[in-house]
């Protein structure tokens, strides 16, 4: 049995753990506060249950208390009124004034009516047969006493005091004693009821306590689980970042190594005297120049990314004509495009308004997008560069958009949300051995956002991609436009 369980566990673990890791990775991407939110929801629900439980317990306690008070009051009133009935009767003995005697008789009768009402109420509230029986017995004994009381009263009013006393001693006292015993019995039964209610209350309180302990433990458990999940998601994020950085280092090393190897072999050939003649030297010089520029560009890109890492904007925005930007970028990328055998189609709307950009930033941004299109443009070696205006999506305003369209390998929909992550490179491009650092798009996005714009992407696998740079329109007709400098100066103002 244990072996089977172990086997089952071992079988499940490879599926469970990656699933959990994927879930946590997703959670960490969207923010660990999601987990905290779930914990808060759980705690709120548990809190509501606890409050409801406390309210129920409180209501039960109040019910028991009010029942006790009412019962005690009822018994107290019954006892008092029976005594009052007897007291008023005996008071009639203390005077020979018929008017006063009648008044006492009246008091006695009023009190006895209240006793009858009290007994009837007790009988109507009786829950157990024992109580109903007692109520009947009490009513019977009280009526018996009242019979004697009437005789005593009559004797007193007639003036036969001696006869009244004799009647009371012989009949009234025993009858009243029976009533008193009945009332004691009522008290005893009520005491039993109160004790039962108290026991129920204690049991209820104990249940509430256990429920509270249980819920508290459960809360602690889910809080602990949430903390563990958050920590694990952080750890996974850190691991993922470290992995990406390692890949980046490897990629950068590879990118540096290629021109370095060319530089090294060219230098070796020159040193060994293998390069003879002016034309050969010119050729080697061009190679050295090109490779050293490539290395310089790569280093510039890394430095630029590092400088934008803190997210603060160092760009100086100024109005610039779109045509100037397009002309500048066409010149800058001419070599890159032609070397790769690509053709650049320009589709520029006329009368485009000037845009508010940083000159070097927008050049860098577009260079990265065109460079990407060249890299992943596939066999259809055409890249379109479009510039147009469109509604900005914020109120009734518009913005200027410059799109770079390729008919290349495209991007899988599952990857499209990650392509702007720093150091991210699609497994497909790694397999296809397309070199890169994974910084180009991330850098372009940061630059665009620093200028108050953004980059959007539309892509379909094996069909192509369209990256669009959204730029703010410069406000003010007298805005003077600046000249676009060459991209080699592209670096954030610091």
């Amino acid at each position: 049995m244990t072996k089977r369980l172990k086997f089952a566990f071992n079988r499940r673990q490879p599926y469970l753990v990656p699933f959990l890791d994927r879930f946590l990775a997703a959670a960490s991407r969207h923010n660990a506060t999601v987990l905290l939110f779930l914990v808060c929801c759980g705690v709120t629900v548990i809190g509501a249950i606890v409050i409801s439980d406390l309210k129920a317990a409180n209501s039960e306690a109040q019910k028991a208390y009010s029942g006790s008070v009412h019962g005690l009051q009822q018994i107290g009133e019954l006892q008092y009124e029976t005594q009052e009935t007897r007291r008023a009767t005996l008071y009639a003995l203390t005077t020979s004034d018929s008017n006063l005697q009648v008044e006492y008789a009246d008091q006695s009768r009023n009190a006895d009516q209240r006793v009858k009402d009290g007994i009837a109420e007790y009988g109507s509230q009786a829950k157990r047969p024992e109580e109903s029986e007692l109520a009947c017995r009490l009513a019977r004994d009280w009526n018996n006493y009242l019979g004697v009381r009437d005789e005593v009263l009559a004797s007193i009013l007639e003036g036969s005091t001696k006869e009244a006393v004799s009647l009371d001693l012989s009949g009234g006292v025993p009858a009243f004693e029976r009533v008193r015993q009945d009332l004691n019995e009522v008290k005893r039964l009520y005491g039993e009821d109160a004790a039962r209610s108290q026991a129920n209350l204690v049991a209820s309180a104990r249940r509430s306590t256990w429920r509270l302990v249980g819920m508290h433990s459960f809360t602690l458990l889910i809080s602990g689980a949430a903390v563990w999940a958050i920590e694990r998601s952080r750890m996974l994020s850190a691991i993922q970042l470290a992995k990406l950085q390692m890949e980046f280092v490897a990629s950068v090393s590879h990118e540096l190594r290629t021109p370095l190897a060319v530089l090294s072999s060219a230098a070796d050939n020159i040193a060994d005297g293998l390069v003879v003649g002016k034309s050969a030297l010119r050729k080697y010089g061009a190679i050295l120049q090109h490779q050293s520029r490539s290395m310089g560009q790569l280093v510039d890109e890394i430095l630029l990314f590092a400088s934008t890492e803190d997210g603060t904007s160092n760009y100086k925005l100024q109005p610039l004509q779109v045509s100037t930007i397009i002309e500048s970028i066409v010149i800058e990328t001419e070599g890159l495009v032609s070397r790769a055998g690509f053709a650049l189609d320009l589709q520029i709307d006329p009368n485009l308004p000037p845009v508010l950009v940083d000159v070097s930033g927008v050049s860098q941004c577009l260079y990265n997008l065109i460079s990407n299109a060249v890299k992943y443009g596939g066999d259809n070696r055409r890249i379109a560069l479009r510039a147009f205006t469109a509604p900005s999506g914020q109120g009734s305003g518009k913005d200027v958009r410059i799109s770079v369209v390729d008919r290349g390998i495209g991007i899988d929909s599952s990857e499209i949300h990650r392509i702007f992550d720093p150091f991210y490179r699609s497994p497909r491009v790694n397999v296809a051995q397309i070199h890169g650092t994974g910084l180009g798009l991330s850098l372009a996005k940061r630059i665009a956002e620093s200028m108050g714009g953004k980059i959007s992407v539309l892509s379909e696998l094996s069909v192509g991609s369209t990256f669009t740079l959204h730029l703010q329109i410069a406000k003010g007709e007298d805005a003077q436009t600046a000249e676009a400098p060459p991209r080699s100066a592209a670096s954030p103002h610091s």
Binding site: S96, S98, N99, Q101, V102, A105, D106, D150, L153, A154, L157, E158, G159
Partner: protein, 180 residues
């Protein structure tokens, strides 16, 4: 002997005959009843406890009862006489139409009767019609009188000479000016 004298003194104290009326004012029994039985005269009703089986009394029996000559009912219960305070119109009506005496004569009659033992119990004096009603309600052998307007269901009305208070020829009627 001493007990009898004490009883008489108690009767005098309880009944409280006023001096003014005791000053030899003549009994008005000589007055013709028809002269007082005007349209405004209200019937005076003789009442007993509801448990009392008696329904009808003759005027002669009523006189014997109110003068203390008859001490027990037919069922053996002792008769307890209930009177209003001296000077009340209802009392004057009873004295005049039933007892045929004035206050002094009635007082002397009871003193004499208690002294000789012919009368066992002196009348109980109640100040209000409600007091009379409640007394009769509480004492099974009690008999008293009330205006018809003071009646309620707690007591029983007795016919006099087979006549109810509303019947024509009913003799006991009280007037506010009676005896003054």
């Amino acid at each position: 002997m001493l007990r009898r004298v004490t009883a008489i003194l108690i009767v005098v104290a309880l009944t409280g005959w006023p001096k003014s009326e005791a000053a030899g004012s003549p009994a008005r029994s000589s007055e013709t009843p028809s002269a007082e039985q005007g349209a405004a005269a209200e019937p005076l009703v003789i009442v007993v406890n509801r448990s009392n089986p008696i329904d009808d009394l003759s005027m002669a029996e009523l006189r014997r009862i109110f003068l203390g000559s008859r001490s027990h009912w037919a069922n053996g219960r002792r008769i307890t006489l209930v009177m209003r305070d001296p000077g009340e119109p209802e009392r004057k009506t009873i004295l005049r139409d039933v007892c045929g005496m004035n206050e002094d004569q009635l007082k002397n009659h009871f003193i004499h009767g208690l002294f000789t033992g012919e009368i066992l119990l002196s009348p109980k004096i109640l100040s209000t019609p409600a007091g009379v009603r409640k007394f009769i309600f509480n004492v099974p052998g009690a008999i008293g009188y009330l205006r018809a307007s003071d009646l309620d269901n707690s007591i029983k009305v007795v016919r006099i000479d087979e006549l109810l208070p509303d019947d024509r020829g009913y003799k006991l009627r009280v007037q506010s000016q009676a005896g003054n």
